[in-house]
C-alpha cells in the first residue's frame, strides 16, 4: 500500500505539479497569441520575445526594489514589480503597434505580410532583451522557495517520497486561475468583451453595428500586455530567466494554440496543458515509479524514459504535425491558417 502511495506521490511531484504550472504558463502565453489571432488576424511571432522583454522589465524593477530594501517577505519581490512591468510592456506593445502593425492594418495587408512583420519585431525585441540583460541565466525569485518542502512532506506523511510545493508553482497556478477567470468574464459578460468577440466573428458586421476597430485593437493589446507579462514573470520565477529559453517558448506556445483551435480562448488553455503534460509524461524517467509498483523480479534496469529531456521540443513539434494532419481546426474548432 505504501509502495502505491509512494509511486503516486512520485508522479505528483515530478509530473503532475510541474505539468500544471508549466501548462498554466503556456496557457497564458497561448491565450495572448490566440487573442491577437482572433482580433488582429495574424500569428504573433514576437510573443516569446515580448514575454522576455516584459520579464526583463520586472527583473530590473525587482533589483531596484531590493536595492532600496523593499521586499515582499516570503513572497517574491517580483510580484511588487509586476504592475509597473505590465504598464511598461503595454507601452512597448503600443509603440510597436503604432509604428509597425497599424500601417499594415490600414493597408489591409495579407496576414502573412503582418506575420513577417511580427518576425521582424521578434528579432528587434530579442535584441533589446540581450542588449539589456545579456544571454546569461538570471534567478530573480526571492522569498521562501517552498511552501512545503519534500522533507516536511515526508515527516508529515511518513512516506519515502516527498511532495514539494514550490512557491512559484503555487503562485503560477493561483494567478493563472484568477487571470483566466478574469479574461473569460471580460469576454463573455462585458460590453467591450462582447464587442471584441463580435469583431473577431465578423469584422464587417461589427463595423455596421458601430463597433470602433481602434478601441477593439487597443483593448486587445491591453489584455495581451497583462497576459504576456504575467506569463513571462511566472515562467521566470519557476525556471529562471534566460533570453534563449523565452525565445524557444514560441514553439510550445504555438503548438498549444493550434492544438486547442486557433482563435479559441478555451482552446488555448486546454492546448497549454496538453503540450505541458505531453512533454513531461514523455520525458520523465519511470524507473523509480516501477520499482515501487513491480515485484523485485520484474524491476527494470533502464531509466524507462521515452525521450531525453533535451528532446522536449520535439514533443510539441510532433503534436503540432499530428494535429495539423488529423484535425487542423484543433480541439475547439478554431480557424485553419
Amino acid at each position: 500500500m505504501t509502495d502505491i502511495l509512494n509511486a503516486i506521490v512520485l508522479l505528483l511531484n515530478f509530473v503532475f505539479l510541474p505539468g500544471l504550472s508549466y501548462g498554466s504558463q503556456l496557457a497564458l502565453g497561448a491565450l495572448a497569441v490566440t487573442l491577437v489571432y482572433a482580433i488582429l488576424r495574424f500569428a504573433n511571432f514576437a510573443q516569446g520575445d515580448t514575454m522576455a522583454l516584459s520579464t526583463v522589465m520586472t527583473i530590473l524593477l525587482t533589483w531596484l526594489l531590493q536595492h532600496f530594501g523593499i521586499t515582499l517577505g516570503f513572497m517574491p519581490t517580483a510580484l511588487l514589480a509586476l504592475p509597473l512591468a505590465i504598464i511598461g510592456c503595454l507601452i512597448y506593445i503600443m509603440l510597436v503597434d503604432t509604428f509597425v502593425y497599424r500601417y499594415y492594418r490600414r493597408q489591409k495587408s495579407k496576414p502573412i505580410t503582418i506575420v513577417m512583420a511580427s518576425v521582424g519585431v521578434m528579432f528587434v525585441t530579442g535584441g533589446i532583451v540581450r542588449f539589456v540583460l545579456g544571454p546569461d541565466h538570471h534567478i530573480f525569485a526571492d522569498g521562501e522557495r517552498f511552501i512545503i518542502t519534500a522533507r516536511e512532506f515526508k515527516a508529515m506523511t511518513g512516506l519515502a517520497e516527498g511532495l514539494a510545493i514550490k512557491t512559484s508553482q503555487f503562485l503560477t497556478i493561483t494567478i493563472a486561475i484568477l487571470l483566466v477567470g478574469f479574461v473569460f468574464y471580460f469576454l463573455q459578460r462585458t460590453k467591450t468583451g462582447k464587442a471584441m468577440r463580435a469583431y473577431a466573428d465578423n469584422e464587417d458586421l461589427a463595423l455596421l453595428s458601430g463597433i470602433e476597430p481602434h478601441n477593439i485593437v487597443r483593448v486587445t493589446w491591453i489584455l495581451v500586455a497583462i497576459l504576456t507579462t504575467i506569463a513571462g514573470v511566472l515562467y521566470g520565477l519557476d525556471k529562471g530567466f534566460m533570453a534563449t529559453s523565452y525565445h524557444q517558448l514560441l514553439l510550445p506556445t504555438f503548438a498549444a494554440v493550434i492544438v486547442g483551435g486557433i482563435g479559441s480562448p478555451p482552446g488555448a488553455i486546454i492546448g497549454g496543458f496538453v503540450i505541458s503534460f505531453s512533454e513531461l509524461i514523455l520525458t520523465y524517467a519511470y524507473k523509480k515509479f516501477f520499482i515501487y509498483l513491480l515485484p523485485e523480479i520484474l524491476q527494470p534496469d533502464s531509466l524507462l524514459q521515452f525521450l531525453g529531456t533535451e528532446y522536449k521540443f520535439a514533443v510539441s513539434f510532433v503534436i503540432l504535425v499530428i494535429v495539423l494532419l488529423l484535425r487542423p481546426t484543433g480541439i475547439f474548432k478554431g480557424k485553419v491558417i
Partner: protein
C-alpha cells in the same frame, strides 16, 4: 419627396465604368420598395450608395429631405438606417441575445424594450435566445440578422437579397417577416433575385438595367407589364 431617396445616382468602383448611370431609388415609411433586375444591373451597388459604403460621383441621397450624401456609414446608421447584408449577416459564435445586444452597440439607453419588440416579432428567437446563432437554421439565422439590424430602432431597413441561399419553404416565412417590418411602420428597401414574389408584396418596384431605371411603378403594375414579364419574370 420620399422618406429615403437616392436621386440621379452615378457610381463606379475604382474609377472604372460606372455601374450606376443616373438611377433613382426611393423608399417610403410603411411601404416595401423592391429593386429587381438582371445580374450586374447595379442593384447591390445602389444599396451600397444609399448606405454610404460607396461614394457616388454624381447624384444625392436624402433622408427626410436632408442631404446625407457626405455622411459615413456609422453616421447614417445613427440616423435610422439599418442594413442586413446578403451573407455573413450574423455573429455565428455568439448567442441570439448577444447578436441583438451587438446590434444595439451604439445605444446607451435601456434596450430591453427593443429586445422585447424583436422577440415579439420573431418568437422563435426568444425560444433560442441563449443558443449560438451559428447553430440555427437558415431561416432562423435570417430572423436573427433582421433582429440585429432592428436593435438600433431604425426607421428604414435595407435588405440585400434576404432570400438568397435559404430553403424554398423558408422564403415565404422571410417574406412574412418583411411584411411585419413594413406593418410596424418602417420603410423597407430590398434587393431581390426572387423578382415575382418580391414584386407581389412591393408597394413600389424599381427595375434596373445597366444601372438605369428601366421601369418604375407599383408592384402590381410591374407584374402586369408585359415587357417586365417577358424580360425578368420568365413570361
Amino acid at each position: 419627396m420620399a422618406y429615403l431617396s437616392g436621386t440621379n445616382l452615378v457610381a463606379a468602383y475604382d474609377q472604372s465604368v460606372p455601374i450606376l448611370n443616373n438611377c433613382t431609388i426611393e423608399a417610403e415609411k410603411g411601404e416595401v420598395a423592391v429593386i429587381v433586375g438582371p445580374n450586374g444591373a447595379g442593384k447591390s451597388t445602389a444599396m451600397k450608395v444609399l448606405l454610404g459604403m460607396l461614394k457616388p460621383s454624381a447624384g444625392s441621397v436624402t433622408l427626410e429631405g436632408k442631404d446625407i450624401s457626405r455622411l459615413s456609414v456609422q453616421k447614417r446608421i445613427r440616423l435610422g438606417l439599418a442594413f442586413v447584408p446578403q451573407t455573413d449577416n450574423v455573429f455565428p459564435t455568439m448567442t441570439v441575445q448577444e447578436n441583438l445586444e451587438m446590434g444595439a452597440f451604439l445605444r446607451t439607453d435601456d434596450i430591453s424594450q427593443t429586445l422585447a419588440e424583436v422577440y415579439d416579432l420573431f418568437p422563435i428567437l426568444n425560444d433560442r435566445r441563449n443558443q449560438l446563432v451559428g447553430q440555427l437554421s437558415g431561416g432562423q439565422r435570417q430572423q436573427a440578422a433582421f433582429g440585429r439590424a432592428m436593435m438600433t430602432q431604425p426607421t428604414i431597413m435595407l435588405l440585400d437579397e434576404p432570400t438568397a441561399g435559404v430553403a424554398p419553404n423558408v422564403v415565404d416565412e422571410i417574406f412574412d417577416n418583411i411584411l411585419n417590418l413594413k406593418n410596424s411602420g418602417r420603410a423597407v428597401l430590398m434587393v431581390e433575385q426572387n423578382a415575382r414574389q418580391a414584386l407581389e408584396i412591393a408597394d413600389k418596384g424599381f427595375v434596373l438595367v445597366s444601372g438605369r431605371n428601366e421601369h418604375t411603378g407599383t408592384g402590381k403594375e410591374l407584374l402586369a407589364n408585359p415587357e417586365v414579364r417577358r424580360s425578368f419574370l420568365g413570361g
